[in-house]
């Protein structure tokens, strides 16, 4: 059980930083075409911002923002977006993950359709990585022999 921190400095700093971390994560995902970055890196940064919220404000606040069931749904959704875009290409007569054939659907040239296809799968990867990071952290933090030790340790100190 992760509790709400009693330290006002930690909570304030986290509250100020979390929006900027998330904004930066979205920038890393969206700007993967032009600079180092992409779905994996941006997803990890986004996951880190949610983990920061979880360890500073406790489980209850974090789970109000994004519940465990939603995280599970999201990380399936991320892989589904990726595989779905790939399968969509099959329906348009191309190979699996051959985004060029999506051009008539998106009303752009085949090269631009490839660019948009890359963006689509990067978003899928970002969602999957973000929710898997949070899910693994949450599950490891919640289970094990020290699961309920937090309360007693806090009372003793």
């Amino acid at each position: 059980m992760i509790h709400n921190s009693t330290d006002v400095i930690i909570k304030t700093v986290a509250r100020i930083f979390i929006p900027f971390i998330q904004l930066y994560a979205l920038y890393v995902i969206m700007h993967g075409h032009y600079s180092p970055g992409g779905g994996f890196q941006g997803g990890v940064i986004l996951g880190a911002s949610l983990i920061l919220l979880l360890i500073t404000h406790g489980e209850r606040v974090a789970m109000q923002r994004i519940s465990e069931n939603w995280i599970t749904i999201l990380f399936s959704l991320g892989v589904l977006i990726y595989a779905g875009i790939g399968t969509l290409c099959l329906f348009f007569g191309g190979n699996f993950l051959d985004y060029g054939v999506l051009a008539p659907l998106l009303h752009v040239s085949p090269a631009a359709a490839r660019s948009l296809g890359i963006l689509g799968v990067e978003i899928g990867v970002g969602i999957a990585v973000m929710s898997v990071m949070v899910s693994i952290f949450y599950n490891i933090a919640r289970s094990g022999p020290y699961r309920n030790k937090g309360t007693t340790a806090r009372r003793e100190s």
Binding site: G32, H33, Y34, S35, P36, G38, G39, F40, T72, F75, S76, G78, V79, Y82, A83, G86, F96, L97, Y99, A111, A112, R114, S115, G117, I118, V121, E122, G124, V125, A128, V129, S131, V132, S135, I136, N139, I140, R142, S143, R147
Partner: protein, 93 residues
């Protein structure tokens, strides 16, 4: 038994090291990898995908199938954590 394992590991390692002797030098422009598909990726990326970052176009377009596998690996890791840890948590509660 343990010494046999060490001998097998050492022999396998020696064979693998011997195999690296035949590999091309690091970044050799005349190596097969640099002559076969790399020039096409480097010269045609912008024309074919409108993506200035070659790494991204390689990762998500030319080698998109690999990246789908990577995402599935991450998905599998998350799923296994849920299957093992959440069921253990439920049992404790």
């Amino acid at each position: 038994m343990k010494s046999l394992t060490i001998i097998i590991v050492l022999i396998t390692g020696a064979v693998l090291f011997y195999g690296t002797v035949d590999m091309p030098d690091w970044g050799d422009p005349n190596s097969p990898a640099s002559r076969h598909v790399s020039p096409r990726y480097i010269t045609q990326t912008v024309a074919e995908t409108e993506t200035p970052n070659i790494v991204t176009s390689l990762l998500a377009d030319y080698r998109g199938y690999d990246t789908l596998g990577e995402t599935t690996v991450i998905f599998g890791a998350g799923m296994v954590c849920i299957l093992i840890l959440r069921s253990a948590r439920k049992r404790e509660e």
